[in-house]
Amino acid sequence: MGTKIVNYQEEKKVYYKVLVGLLLLTAVTFIQPHMFMTHSTFLAQMVIAVIKAWLIVIYYMHLKGEKLITAMVWFAMALVAVFFIIVIGIDVSNFQYGADSYITSAPTAN
């Protein structure tokens, strides 16, 4: 099974360390809009989220050392990334009908 031998104290320490890291990062999300990268809050927030996600996946979900599963996770992430690149980056950010379309310039919209 490979998981039978547990170094309880050792692993518990890891859990608490990661918890502290995550709490710190959460605090950073709150001060970020007033502290740094104030001109690209969106980007800064997403970067912090990715770091948090990475901590959770590696330590809480025990992905460290799992080669096959890591490759599968990367594959799924790459697909999502491709969908974003194509739909957001290539298609909708080049939306050609901004001035004419009802959905972007309806009477009630700004």
Binding site: P33, I56, A76, V87
Partner: protein
């Protein structure tokens, strides 16, 4: 039937023997299967974020305005609650693997309580929004209200996605109660903890989804109405 399973032996032509992996008692297989299931969750929420980003691109200013009006204090509290619940879940699993069944059960109860608190806070948040006229099929989100399209879409997606996330939390509570029942029945133990392992993974993915839901809804407009643009 899985407990008395004895692996078969396949023999090579030169006599070398190889143990055959059966479908019974396959810890790694169970883990792999659950990871694959979690990838479907990633794709599902990935597609929802795609829809969200689509309208964000079309209505940037509306999204910032709408985001600024959400309650960051309650959202932040919920973030911390989920964070701690992920810890209790992980510690419980650790205790189970170390053989401390009683401690594990205690940790599961702690996780359930934290999850319930999360839902209660979510409920307060939604009802406050309802009183401000922002809720599905209600007041400002109706088709004929003057709220800009971008904001309507933002709030519509907000209720859909946090609702779906809340639904995952409820399922998670159900799973943990079931897990307690299985532990009491002796079906989950130090040596057979795949169910516990996978439910802990499930709880982590629920947390992980929130890690992205939280900043995308609550924080992007936190830098004032301009959001830095």
């Amino acid at each position: 039937m899985s407990h008395e399973y004895i692996p078969e032996i396949a023999t090579e032509r030169n006599g070398t023997e190889h143990e055959v992996q059966g479908w019974q008692d396959d810890f790694y297989g169970g883990k792999l299967g659950f990871w694959l299931f979690m990838l479907t969750e990633v794709m599902m929420f990935g597609a929802m974020f795609l829809a969200l980003a689509y309208y964000n691109t079309l209505h940037q200013q509306d999204f910032l305005d709408a985001s600024a009006s959400l309650n960051r204090l309650l959202g932040g509290t919920n973030t911390v609650i989920l964070l701690v619940s992920a810890l209790t879940m992980g510690l419980g699993l650790l205790k189970m693997r170390a053989g401390d069944v009683k401690g594990a059960k205690l940790m599961i109860w702690a996780t359930i309580i934290l999850a319930a608190i999360f839902l209660v806070i979510k409920g307060f948040e939604w009802s406050a929004e309802y009183h401000h006229g922002i809720f599905l099929m209600h007041d400002q989100l109706l088709a004929d209200s003057p709220l800009p399209f971008g904001q309507k879409l933002f709030f519509g997606m907000y209720f859909t996605m946090t609702g779906l996330h809340g639904f995952h939390i409820i399922i998670g509570i159900g799973l943990m109660l079931w897990l307690l029942k299985r532990i009491n029945a002796g079906k989950v133990s130090q040596d057979h903890h795949i169910l516990y392992w996978n439910i802990a993974l499930y709880w982590d993915i629920v947390h992980l989804i929130w890690v992205f839901v939280f900043p995308y809804y609550y924080m992007i407009g936190a830098g004032g109405a301009t959001g830095g643009h």
